[in-house]
């Protein structure tokens, strides 16, 4: 996993609530057995005017000019602003892969779905939860001021607006530690291999039908 310390970037506002993982990356792209190549198909059904299939040359497909990420002012955005319950639906990790591979480094929303939340942190995509009123304000700023940027500082747990406001966010200390250091969680768990073995041995005795 890549380390995440701080990022400064253009903000793109996706003004819909309950954005599900089927919308983030439609199922036909889940047929891939690779971890990469999902960026061009992020929000595929909203972004393009024709139906997308794996293996298509996406650069030749007609873009939907109304979709926020296709508007020139948001090109190159690194921070996605979203509404509540972002990432609901399936457990596909292809959703954070697609967001990262498209170029997003962080998503700000009032709330996220649980599995998507876990998956994002496993891949170094920072999800920032801010209260609905603050997110609402950021939406207004991002929509009214072209080139609206935010600076995210994970160490300080803060988001800084162009006018100098500092918005604090909460994050689980373990997740923060892993993100800041780009740690391999499996490696960390394996440091407890002895404990896992001891637990297993005791369980094998008490509930033998499980083995």
């Amino acid at each position: 996993m890549d380390r995440f310390v701080s990022r400064e970037g253009l903000v793109a506002p996706l003004d819909r609530s309950n954005v599900d993982t089927d919308a983030i990356i439609p199922k036909q792209f889940l047929k891939s057995i690779k971890r990469t190549g999902y960026g061009p198909n992020l929000f595929d059904e909203w972004r393009y005017l024709n139906h997308g299939e794996p293996g298509m040359d996406n650069s030749k497909r007609p873009l939907n000019p109304d979709f926020v990420l296709n508007q020139p002012r948001y090109r190159g955005a690194q921070i996605l602003l979203a509404r509540e319950n972002f990432g609901c639906g399936s457990s596909r990790e292809h959703a954070p892969w697609a967001l990262l591979q498209f170029g997003f480094q962080a998503v700000i929303a009032p709330s996220f779905a649980d599995i998507f939340f876990n998956n994002s942190f496993q891949n170094g995509l920072l999800l920032i939860t801010l209260d609905a009123a603050t997110v609402d304000r950021l939406f207004r700023d991002a929509q009214s001021a072209p080139g609206f940027r935010l600076a995210v500082d994970l160490e300080q747990q803060s988001v800084k607006t162009p006018s100098g406001d500092i918005l604090k966010f909460d994050i689980d200390p373990f997740r923060k530690h892993c993100l800041l250091n780009g740690l391999d969680e499996i490696g960390l768990t394996l440091q407890r291999a002895d404990k896992i073995r001891a637990y297993e041995a005791q369980r094998r005795e008490q509930q033998p039908w499980l083995f």
Binding site: D15, R16, S17, N18, D20, D22, A23, P26, K27, Q28, L30, K31, S32, I33, K34, R35, E45, H51, P54, G55, R83, E84, N85, C88, G89, S90, S91, R92, E93, P96, S111, A113, D114, I115, N118, N119, Q122, N123, D172, P173, F174, D184, E185, I186, L188, T189, L190, R192, A193, K195, I196, Y199, E200, R203, Q207, P208, W209, L210, F211
Partner: protein
């Protein structure tokens, strides 16, 4: 001793290690694997040079990519085929307790085969790279969906790093009326608390209406817990649970069975256990449900109407309703009963078990699918469900009525194979998600119970199954 919830018991029983801040290492008993979310996990394992911790915990099947007809032709889509062959190769290399490859007679949807084979047992922690793993909570399990990184984590360590969730009890008391099913209870709950209502919570379903449900009904309910945003859904163990598990191929036998049952009987919330949140519902008020929008919370009763966005004060919600109605091609205030359907899909991990097929067959028996319905299909959840249905003659009932009788798999629930909606087509579906494009780009999904889906097929439009004669 402090009174514990079922969730407390399952949690503490699987706790390997806990940090001062509550970050815990939880042991995983059963790891269900399918072809879509596993290839990158196996690849990760390989790249890191790690061995699986306990392959005996793995039960694997093919379900998402396979076609549901013409099995002798194999999997025609080359990309789908590669994904399935990749699972074959990974299981061959690493091993598993059991694996049902494409065309195996036990193959089926991962959340149908787990319980059916006795791979899912009360008291287990069950995970799968699939959000509907919550289904298995019907057995008094702690069961939840994980992403591919966590699939790899479980393969390598048999554990997951997590924090304890909040606890929520959803109590449904009283008797549900005829024609009202576990699916309707699930949809009512989601309509009430919303698709984020259960976020961060492990939900236990309790109450007399839940205890009256069969295991199939409980599985449908727990399956949909994820649609309410819950981390897990669960139901306490009782005689119904134990009777279902008995004599399943992977269930314990002999003395171990007795020992297991004695333990399983403790898997319920103690009297006086406290929950962080409690929701109560009166079963008698529940009517058959139909979704009208693009999220499972956009649901109403069969005698209800498509909502009018003009009556919604909150601008974000109003826009959400407007967008959903536009996508669904529905006008405000349209009566639900009467909305015509183009296709009907009976299947998915929510509603493809034998009881679901029986309920649909009761409605289809001796009748004909309406002329305006282009396709009505029944897709059993697994090979054994299919054979059981055939032994009962249900296949003949469906085919005589004009339904197609297919081979098992996920099929049109998410349309990764050829079973999909065309743009603009409207479908009565027994699956779990009505998201935009879920059943095919531009397709319009209405979630209903199996009996309601069968009735819609016969009538050609949604109709109240309770008065359907």
């Amino acid at each position: 001793m402090v009174a514990q919830t079922l969730y407390d018991k399952l949690w503490s029983n699987h706790l390997v290690h806990e940090e001062a801040d509550g970050t815990a290492l939880i042991y995983i008993d059963r790891h269900l694997v399918h072809e879509v979310t596993s290839p990158q996990a196996y690849e990760g394992l390989k790249l890191a040079g790690r061995k699986p911790w306990r392959v005996g915990s793995i039960v694997a099947t093919v379900d998402h990519n396979n076609p549901t007809k013409d099995w002798d032709l194999g999997i025609q889509d080359p990309i789908s085929r590669i994904q399935v062959e990749t699972l074959d190769a990974n299981i061959k290399e690493y091993g598993a307790l059991t694996y049902f490859p494409f065309r195996d007679e036990r193959m089926g949807i991962v959340h149908v085969i787990g319980p059916e084979q006795g791979a899912t047992l009360p008291g287990m922690t069950v995970v799968c790279g699939d959000s509907h793993t919550s289904t298995h909570g019907a057995f008094g399990c702690l069961a939840f969906g994980i992403g591919t990184s966590e699939v790899e984590h479980v393969m390598a360590t048999q554990c997951l790093v997590m924090k304890k969730a909040q606890s929520m009890r959803i109590a449904v008391d009283g008797n549900v009326g005829a024609g009202v099913t576990g699916k309707d209870i699930a949809l009512v709950i989601i309509g009430k608390i919303g698709t984020a209502g259960g976020t961060g919570c492990a939900v236990e379903f309790t109450g007399s209406a839940i205890r009256a449900l069969s295991m199939e009904g409980r599985m449908t309910l727990c399956n949909m817990a994820i649609e309410a945003g819950a981390r897990a859904g669960m139901v306490a163990v009782d005689d119904v649970t134990i009777a279902y598990v008995k004599d399943r191929p992977l269930a314990p036998k002999g003395q171990q069975w007795d020992q297991a049952v004695a333990y399983w009987r403790t898997l319920k919330s103690d009297d006086g256990a406290t929950f962080d949140k409690i929701i109560t519902l009166d079963a008698a008020t529940i009517k058959p449900q139909v979704t009208w929008g693009t999220s499972p919370q956009m649901v109403t009763t069969i005698d209800g109407y498509v909502p009018d966005p003009a009556k919604e004060a909150d601008p974000v919600k109003r826009e959400g309703i407007e967008r959903a109605l536009k996508y669904m091609g529905l006008a405000p205030n349209t009566p639900i009963a009467g909305i015509a359907v183009d296709k009907v899909f009976i299947g998915s991990c929510t509603n493809s078990r034998i009881e679901d097929l029986r309920a649909a067959a009761v409605v289809a028996r001796g009748r004909k699918v309406a002329g305006n319905v282009r396709l009505a299909m029944v897709v059993p959840g697994s090979g054994p469900v299919k054979r059981q249905a055939e032994a009962e003659g249900l296949d003949k009932v469906f085919m005589a009525a004009g339904f197609e009788w297919r081979e098992p798999g996920c099929s049109m629930c998410l349309a990764m194979n050829d079973d999909k909606l065309d743009p603009g087509e409207r479908c009565a579906s027994t699956s779990n998600r009505n998201f935009e494009g879920r059943q095919g780009t531009g397709g319009r999904t209405h979630l209903v119970s199996p009996a309601m889906a069968a009735a819609a097929a016969i009538a050609g439009h949604f109709v109240d199954v309770r008065s359907f004669t």
